[in-house]
Symmetry: C2
Subunit: 332 residues, 2 copies
């Protein structure tokens, strides 16, 4: 995961500060991914869970709860819930994207089959739902139900909007919320809810997670055209998969007829030829599209940091602040 | 849906008795399957929802609630929840089974693509989750979370167990619970819960739904080998899809070496030839396997009716009693 690699330093500090909590989360995940009846479930899940990723989302939940002074045990359930939802969406995404590799290993749909990925994903959604009911908080259920709907809606929207040149930046933002920001913001918000934080703090946690997620996704979309080596994804993936991202939207808004025909052929109709990626990068450079997208990512990171100012003073707050910086540092 | 067609008469009476409630359910479904951002969601959902089916599961929820004297409005939310979960599982099942037709129409995965079926299914799961949170009942959440896990677990189990000749009747029953009975029993139980019924009645509603579901699924599995025309599914589907069902398990238990080799070739290894279905039917007949499976289906229907005796006297109770009879009448 490119996010996890890119933001390693503040994330490592977050993991160190929350090591005991995270050990409890990992133990709970191991227990709950078991299935008495269907051994394929833990096989598929373990393949993905053990491959790592830095567990950013559960760390956000734990951090939010601790930041708001929580001393109970339910933040562990919520962190595991969030990780199960994330793992379920990865399994389904790999089917949808027909991916062959994830976290440096062959995807579950390749090792087993699409059927297993769909059904084990469903199982993990159901398990996440069981975990959250154990907290007994209706507010938590409500927030995570809404986040789940936003995630699925964003994914469906991406199917239809991603290759449509009429897609607006507002629609792009909706897709980004579904892909990334909805689970980030739910992860931070439910940490505050379980801690009984005042509504203003809960809202600040939501805003932090949302803005962090949007900043990250824009940065990731920029790196797909402008990244160096070692960013953890292959450059040009989005272009080859015909996904209209913010840099292209910026360039499209300034395109002349010839450039429009180029985007129409490569993205809308998917007839790509040798050298098209380099030409796309040249067009983006000509219009300053990368710079324009970068300015937006920095703006979202600033919003994330502003939201933190409304939260209690706490060592974890400093790490979350650095995390927002780090997410966009790789594009600046 | 063969269930819906086969049990039409008592189901029609149930629909007539609950017509006003069901109109409210249909209105709620229409509202909630909308998506502000992704028009493909209502397109895919409407394709399936409007194709009909008799809405047996939401009717079970409405009937259970009314039977227990419920006078509120949340049974409508729960009925819509149950129908959304059902619709989501149908969308995912069609991807897993690579089905081409459902309810007499081309499947969504054929009309759109597997991606849309997976993601719209996820969206409907999330929507069902939002609907149930609106009831504010943690017990309801708990029951439906557990049912969702049982459904997914049963489906995964079917992937691995269905073509394995070592599968036991206990594993078959677990698969049947996942495919059919878990949602039936959750549908009836949550109707009782929302009505504030005593635990004994709630348990009786669970048992009715569970036994009805198992009876139906065994009957359906029998019809796949022994049904006449017009049963709503093609005879031999399970055989061709290499699904070990109860009639085959009964025959396997009594198989000689030659028959075992036949099942090994056709089910375990899937090397089927012209005439194999007829030979399978002849083997089942020789061992009385259909009769043995039928006796179990009748036993489950009797358990369903017994459970009803522990519920309040009510006109709907008589219809539910007839429904249990009707589900197995087509195999007797």
């Amino acid at each position: 995961m490119s996010l996890d690699e890119a933001s390693q330093k503040p994330l490592d500090r977050l993991a160190a500060a929350l090591a005991a909590d995270m050990a409890a989360v990992n133990a709970l995940i191991a227990t709950r991914m078991a299935s008495e009846h269907a051994p394929r479930i833990p096989q598929v899940t373990a393949h993905l869970v053990e491959a790592g990723g830095k567990r950013l989302r559960p760390l956000l939940t734990l951090a939010a709860a601790r930041l708001c002074g929580y001393a109970g045990a339910h933040h562990v359930h919520l962190a595991a819930t969030v990780e199960f939802i994330h793992t379920a969406t990865l399994l389904h995404d790999d089917v949808v994207d027909e991916s062959a590799r994830r976290r440096g290993r062959p995807t579950a749909n390749l090792l087993w089959d699409n059927k297993s990925s769909v059904l084990v994903g469903d199982y993990l959604f159901a398990r996440s739902f069981q975990l959250m009911t154990e907290t007994g908080s209706m507010r938590v259920m409500d927030i995570l139900a809404n986040a789940s709907a936003t995630i699925a809606e964003g994914e469906v929207l991406q199917l239809t909007a991603a290759s449509d040149l009429a897609t607006t930046e507002a629609v792009y933002l909706q897709v980004v919320r579904g892909k990334t920001a909805a689970l980030f913001s739910a992860a931070t918000q439910v940490g505050g809810v379980i801690a009984g934080a005042p509504r203003a703090q809960e809202q600040a946690l939501f805003t932090y997670g949302d803005a962090l997620g949007v900043a990250f996704q824009i940065a990731d979309d920029i790196l797909d055209y402008a990244g160096g080596a070692g960013i953890g994804k292959d450059r040009g993936d989005d272009f080859r998969e015909r996904k209209l991202t913010l840099p292209v939207l910026k360039a499209l808004a300034r395109a002349d007829a010839e450039e429009r025909a180029f985007w129409d052929r490569t993205i809308a109709r998917g007839r790509q030829e040798e050298g098209d990626l380099a030409r796309a990068q040249a067009i983006l450079a000509r219009h300053g599209a990368i710079g324009a997208a970068r300015a937006e990512a920095l703006d979202w990171a600033a919003r994330a940091r502003e939201a933190l100012a409304r939260l209690p003073d706490h060592p974890l707050r400093g790490i979350l602040d650095d995390l927002a910086d780090y997410v966009v540092a790789r594009i600046t």
